[in-house]
Amino acid sequence: MTDPDRSRPDDPLEAYFRAAREATPTPTAALLARIADDAVTAQARRRAVRARTGRGGWRAALRRSWPEAAALVAATCAGIWIGVSPPDAVADVLGAGTAEGEFAALVEPATVFDVALLTER
């Protein structure tokens, strides 16, 4: 990571920088061993997580939470059905053919100003 060739001999601080570069601190064997151990531990942890959530894991998760999965499928099917063939009530609200502004009046939410008027007094 070091390129000592960048030193400048005419720099008045160069003698100090050179001395500091020559006294580069080196890691102990114990530190290197600890760091290599960390690497192996992190690897093992990843393997364990993969084993839990990897191939086959999603089937086990589905077995545990089938009611939620069934509700999700039902809601999706209902959404698609309403989109493809909307019931009359929905079609009226979405109002094909209504005058411009009517639909906006139907869905426009109360503004902060409206709320302030209601709560005044």
Binding site: D3, L13, A15, P25, A42, Q43
Partner: protein
């Protein structure tokens, strides 16, 4: 894969091998990267024990992000310099917040630096003077003059522009000169720059 065969591979290739489960790649990366990380942390912190903790923490972050490392986006050494510096700066700030550091800094440091110069230990004198610089100036001077990096890489590490790097290095060096060279004259040193 034997360690010798790892020498030919780039840092990124080794990290990808490690992420795929190769333990030898982790050993090769440890031997290749930790000396630089530890040296940088030591220079910023001036404390070997704390530097060991920082080196271990920085490498642990590397092991954890290995599977998500996106090749070609940044050099691993650049990323490590940045992580290491951030960890060091956190520790320096915590030190400053501790009760011992509430006392004025200059009074105790000056005789120590003079004594070190008298003993000819320039490296120690430099580290004492570096410790008095603001964090970003210290980081820029260490990266430029001790790690030997160019301004563009320092800019990437520090997440600033090359001009800001130049400015930080220049201000840092001016402060070091006042501290180190000013005292040389006070102490009667001749113009010996060897």
């Amino acid at each position: 894969m034997p360690l010798d065969a790892m020498d030919e591979r780039s840092d990124e290739e080794l990290l990808a091998l490690y992420a795929a489960g190769d333990a030898a790649a982790a050993r090769a990366l440890t031997l290749r990267l930790v000396p630089g990380v530890f040296a940088h942390a030591s220079r910023l912190l001036s404390d070997a024990t704390e530097a060991e903790d920082v080196a271990q923490e920085a490498m642990l972050k590397l092991w954890r992000i290995a599977p998500d490392w996106r090749a070609g986006e940044a050099r691993i050494t650049t990323w490590l310099y940045r992580v290491t510096a951030n960890l060091c700066i956190d520790r320096i700030r915590r030190r400053r917040g501790s009760p011992l550091d509430d006392a004025p800094e200059v009074a105790d440091e000056a005789p120590s630096a003079e004594a070190r110069m008298l003993s000819g230990d320039r490296a120690a004198a430099l580290h004492a003077a570096l410790a008095d610089l603001p964090e970003r100036q210290r980081q820029a001077v260490v990266l430029r003059h001790l790690e030997g990096l160019g301004n563009p890489e320092i800019a990437r590490i520090m997440d600033i522009g090359p001009r800001a790097v130049e400015s930080l290095v220049a201000r840092g060096k001016r402060a070091l000169e006042e501290r180190l060279l000013g005292r040389r004259a006070d102490l009667g040193y001749t113009d010996d720059r060897s």
